[in-house]
């Protein structure tokens, strides 16, 4: 339920305005020297520091990781690695109004219907804050993959109708000024993947990537290779475009996929108070990389 993967198994926990969020990574081999600087910079990237339209909380609360187990002198022991990030800038009082309200387009109502109880403080478990733990775990997966020559690189390629990256900041700023928000598309490339990753029937590489990516908040679609756009092309034309995968198995070429993030529904224009993002897709980029890394490290 809150665990991803069977070999490099990542369990995530924590509420947005509780004591801490965190995770346990089980299955990480012994002897990996943790790149703490990489983790710090990826968390900063996710936090939206320096990003136009990112929420105030993101910018105020630098995420500091406390390592509880599985590491000795910066090197993994082969035992489960538990870590936490304390919620220092938690302001439950900002969310008192949410106690008896369900925000439109959020999970507040279904949580209460499903569990009969919910942590109303800032979305609780449903908050995007949970993705910080994914980024920490993803960084470790990336390190493991890098040792095998595998690199994962995601980028924002569309905001609204705009596809020129130089103009993204302006587009987002315009929506922010209106108290509104806008969606975006993230593209991700995996290079260096050897032939043979993925299983032929259900556990296809693309199925695992889709599962990982669609588990990110606000993601509404996943496509690889020719994707949805390929529907108008005849077989004779698209024959050789594999997107890096054949029959569910990596074919040794670059894997390329795209995913779309909806605009956040909690906006001043929609009458929702709190700290929000004008374009969540910008901050989703490192999360896409993290989930891709976790999906792949579990298949190898």
């Amino acid at each position: 339920m809150n665990t991803f993967g069977e070999h490099w198994s990542f369990t995530s926990f924590g509420e947005s305005h509780g004591v801490a969020i965190g995770g346990v990574l089980d299955g990480v081999p012994a002897g990996l020297r943790i790149d703490f600087a990489l983790i710090r910079s990826e968390l900063e990237r996710r936090s939206g520091k320096g990003v136009v339209g990112a929420s105030a909380r993101a910018k105020n609360e630098p995420d500091e990781v406390e390592w509880l187990s599985g590491v000795m002198d910066g090197v993994t022991l082969g035992t489960p690695i538990a870590f936490i990030i304390r919620n220092k800038d938690a302001r439950p009082e900002d969310y008192e109004w949410m106690k008896n309200t369900y925000r439109v387009g959020h999970a507040d109502k279904v949580y209460e219907q499903k569990y009969g109880i919910r942590d109303w403080r800032g979305g609780g478990r449903a908050s995007a804050r949970e993705t910080a733990a994914r980024v920490v775990a993803g960084c470790m997966a990336k390190q493991e993959l890098a040792q095998k020559g595998i690199a994962i690189k995601a980028a924002l390629v569309q905001v609204g109708a705009e596809t020129d990256p130089d103009k993204f900041a302006d587009v987002i700023a315009a929506y922010q000024k209106e108290g509104d928000s806008i969606g975006g598309i993230v593209e991700c490339r995996v290079s260096g993947l050897p032939v043979g990753v993925g299983e032929p029937i259900f556990d296809k590489l693309q199925a695992h990537l889709a599962f990982a990516i669609m588990s990110i908040n606000a993601c509404k679609g996943f496509e690889y290779g020719t994707g949805f756009g390929g529907v108008t092309q005849p077989g004779s034309a698209v024959n050789a475009i594999s997107g890096g995968i054949a029959g569910g198995i990596s074919d040794g070429t670059e894997v390329l996929f795209r995913c779309v993030f909806k605009p956040t529904p909690s906006t001043p224009k929609a009458g929702v108070k709190g700290r929000h993002d004008a374009c969540v897709a910008t901050r989703a980029v490192p999360v896409v990389e993290a989930m891709t890394a976790l999906a792949i490290v579990n298949l190898i």
Copy 2:
């Protein structure tokens, strides 16, 4: 690897031109009276009978299910249900030429690279024939869901650039005549789903649906709700369009998703002999329903 789901666990087996394909369904409750007529008609639908552009084999080989266990007098016993469909129309000799050839756009080469051996007869395990077993299992899942008031209905909504269903047969026939093939988009609606299906973090309903659908051969993309098209809409406009899911959990409204199937690469135009389809998306429709049913029955 060849098993889908943990509660209604479906294990698929069989090569396209071996003795038989089949499956084992474990976790089906005792006392379910099997609807053999439904299974027969769904297999016929998958086989492409009466469908323009479907391959010859599909039409010649009616799939007959042999039940090996788990059923007594047409009623499930609560024990594993094993069934097989024999490969009566297998013609390995038609595929002798494949023994030392890898077809472009197919999994032949990666199989051999991954396993060091492959059943070259008609694609072996990678053949779309394997989906017949999925359809049998999916029918049983549909029956179980129907008892709970849940209905799953998929339909072809686009072929090439064409979106008028009345014109699909003509479009496909035209590509077939050219010895070419074309892609299509399938839309699926799940109605009657109660609030609360899906888990908030990794095991989101949309993630499980994407995993199930992307595991179908030739599927290149999955989207739900506003999907990729929603990227150009501001948050203020799409606020209330959930696609039936909020925060990974069904919200009680109809779930709607779409998926895209590429054209088959094995065409006369591409120089590939054998029995092929001009538009695999047509035959994918019952497979989409089957996988959707299996995904949902495993989450409930």
Copy 3:
């Protein structure tokens, strides 16, 4: 539920007096040449051929394996291997009396309470006949392990109070003559196991062995190393007796464990008709080996 193991995953199916029993083995590497003679001789050993006190059915029905998938020219393809053994000597009519009766010491009653339905024909799924499928799967696991230099050897070491193997046949014959039955202890040795098999916390080697062995019908206990007898020995005396396992992990020495099988409760003396064994422990020996092989091959 009917699946054992996550890597070399074995799914068992079939009722004792249905069409067939069988199994699916998923995860077996490609390129393994199946030793059909070994499988035949192990099935014969399990069937009790030539064993004093074995039931009539066992002796009359040679188990013939039909291979449905995953094998081409006697070599595994890396795809799921499905096989069945037909129930040729099924005589449901012999068991008509069981339809409305629950046998003491058998699972008849709990099955009906759990499922609301049961296959009353000879115990259905609960019959020891199901272990034939385990033996087939276990043989393949043994072959894989043999290639790694690992050998598994079990033997009956006690029948009733008797520990001299030369006298076992006489003891069993005496109970059989009385229309009664008797228990036995099986000892199993695993040699050639490299250091490092098993995980330190929950997935200890001994925990997985115990799970595998206790899943065999009629098994009432499992012990390894010093076992229950060691309770009277001080630490200073047993210090160096590991039973081949330290902290849940194989230590490179021979692994030795023992398990006990109760006498079958269905005896003429207890007023139960049908075909029964005077000492099920004798026929359990190859099943113990099979389950040990499956447990170990899944941990390596």
Copy 4:
């Protein structure tokens, strides 16, 4: 690897002399009011407070649980519950001598062989201290089971050859005085279990109990019902003794099993310094209850 159970999933982490030990419990239903007093008293029981022969550390270090997530106002949220117990009385310096030494009868050597690295401080992950996290998780499982009328009660029934509980303290004290240690047998009864818990083939109730119990450090054997002692009894005599389980499924009567713990090998007599127990079986009693509760709550 460090996770137990699929429904009430418990992940354990932490080294004996690291920052903390702890765990994450996923799948606990929302709305359970945590019995903090029960947890405190069970931890004290495990710590050996007031127990003859318990080690010094046990008595000096009261285990205080910090709750990090999944709980609001003492009530579970349905989200993962993370908790830690800090290692306040950690004294790595006491174990400096272990850095380059492998203790006989301990896992030190196999850890280093398996992982190429180990936390030598007090046994690291292999330390019995890890069982404190199991006790916390087990308490929550017990609470859940208690609500269903299920009670779990374990007791020490044998120390060395002694079976009179009034004499256990004297026996242990005698071994302690000698700088030696002694084994013991724990008996556990589960009452109130409804009919139908456990699955017929591999996931038998006794197999899951054996797996859970054999995963406890120092446990060398598990038996239920007639156990090993029953081997000398004919079928006609033991017919009706089920041990609460028939065909792998609970039959509605009390479940009774026994397990044996070896004496600790690290004794002054064996030349091992540090803080040790003269009879680990005494402190194993609450751990047996905890693992039994976790096994059963995962099967229900």
